[in-house]
Symmetry: D2
Subunit: 152 residues, 4 copies
């Protein structure tokens, strides 16, 4: 996956200097993997009749995290005229979603030995780390990127 994503990034006619290309490809792949794992984990939780009552928050976190990771992957795949403030807040939302979902899944992996939650927690942790790595590159200085945009 990462190799293909890198090939697409390299084929883009306009250069992008915002991110290291390998770190960018890594993060796009991690977001996509996490979105898939979260969607599959939500569905696997539905298949646990004895534990379902304890998995409602897990399903909710899975669905939220899948939506945010999918949006992040799409946005990071675009190189044309990026907005740094938008990228920064989106990466922060993705970190928050992966943290919330990863913690929840990790708990069910540890306490109930659920393999789908263990795999999903791993994907969430990798995606959180990959987004955090890119975040370092998008400076907090809104002016740098795009003037006085941040009231929040």
């Amino acid at each position: 996956m990462k190799t293909r994503i890198q090939a697409m990034l390299s084929a883009h006619p306009q250069p992008q200097a915002l991110f290291d290309q390998e770190a960018l490809a890594e993060c796009i792949a991690a977001c996509m993997e996490c979105a898939q794992a979260c969607g599959a984990c939500a569905d696997a939780c539905l298949g646990e009749p004895e534990h379902l009552a304890h998995l409602l928050r897990c399903i909710r976190m899975n669905l939220d995290c899948a939506d945010i990771c999918a949006a992040t992957a799409r946005i990071l795949s675009r190189l044309t005229a990026p907005d740094q403030n938008l990228l920064r807040t989106q990466l922060q939302a993705c970190v928050a979603a992966c943290k919330a979902c990863g913690d929840e899944c990790q708990r069910h992996a540890s306490e109930m030995h659920m393999q789908h939650c263990a795999l999903c927690a791993e994907s969430c942790q990798q995606c959180e780390a990959a987004c955090a790595a890119l975040l370092g590159r998008v400076t907090e200085s809104a002016d740098h990127s795009r003037a006085a945009v941040q009231p929040y």
Copy 2:
């Protein structure tokens, strides 16, 4: 749209105390309207052969904003076991996207009298305001929020 969304919120078997229900329905509707306007504006920009070169950033902002608004609408439509830190960062990302896209569209509406950009700027501004209104309700304290909000 808002009426239907409110009916769905009212039909939910579990109470939610996080947001004022009308403000929540307003924000979900604004996110959906904005996602539609942004997708349509990106496509309308492709139909402007004489101005296309000046509209590349507009198309990029439209596509990013549509993805973020669509994810926000989905997430806000879920009432089960919310995570306040996730909600807060997602609303911040949505505010940033609507600001970036709304400003860009507003510029083309003013300078080039593009009607699709004028309509899209209006949707972005309404969505930004609706998300900012909800943001006030989600405190920064993630721990406090988890303690207070999770019934599961």
Copy 3:
């Protein structure tokens, strides 16, 4: 919602002759409303602890239908250089999803008096009808459609 969608359609610089504009706006609005209702119904089902075991198929249909309706709304919102074969099969998928989800929800509305399922069934039925109405306009002949529709 429909009024705004129609305004965006009217502001498009390129004419589209494929669909009646009001029917198109109606269908885009119905797809968006159905996507929201399905996402909210899936979450509401999670809030029914006593009935959850009987609602697993409903949740699955809700999630599938929400994804398909959201994609349909996005695709129909684009007027540039449509592909009739793609439009036709996407509308068929949307009809199938709305039928499956609407039937499932209708059953829970009738048998268990679930208000969220009743509302969702109504949205599914409206979306199914709106998509079926557009389907009549997209002929089966893909070659003919490409010749007739592509200005690019």
Copy 4:
């Protein structure tokens, strides 16, 4: 990617007999790869100022195909209580989108030697083949399928 998807499929508590598991993982991976390639190709086309006027249909097909492939990947990742008629029409829509987009990209790869279009065409062709392979497994008889597949 495929390995991870297979691990998630294997961790699901409920068995699925509808598809060969490897073919299913292959198809989910192909849909995700194609969605990413299409999104990246649309953006790369925006970076071709000299050819942009000839790439409008390509961008449109890219965006449609990305939306449909992403929805297909999500739906195929769910194993709970599938609806065969829904799966069949969704796979058909995905085949149609990949065919339309792949043909368009192949043309630009051949005539204009665009590397991003060549890579995207390859992803479209692989996804089309993977979806066609699964389609063989989903019979036309919706009633028969419902009887055979629903454990709920």
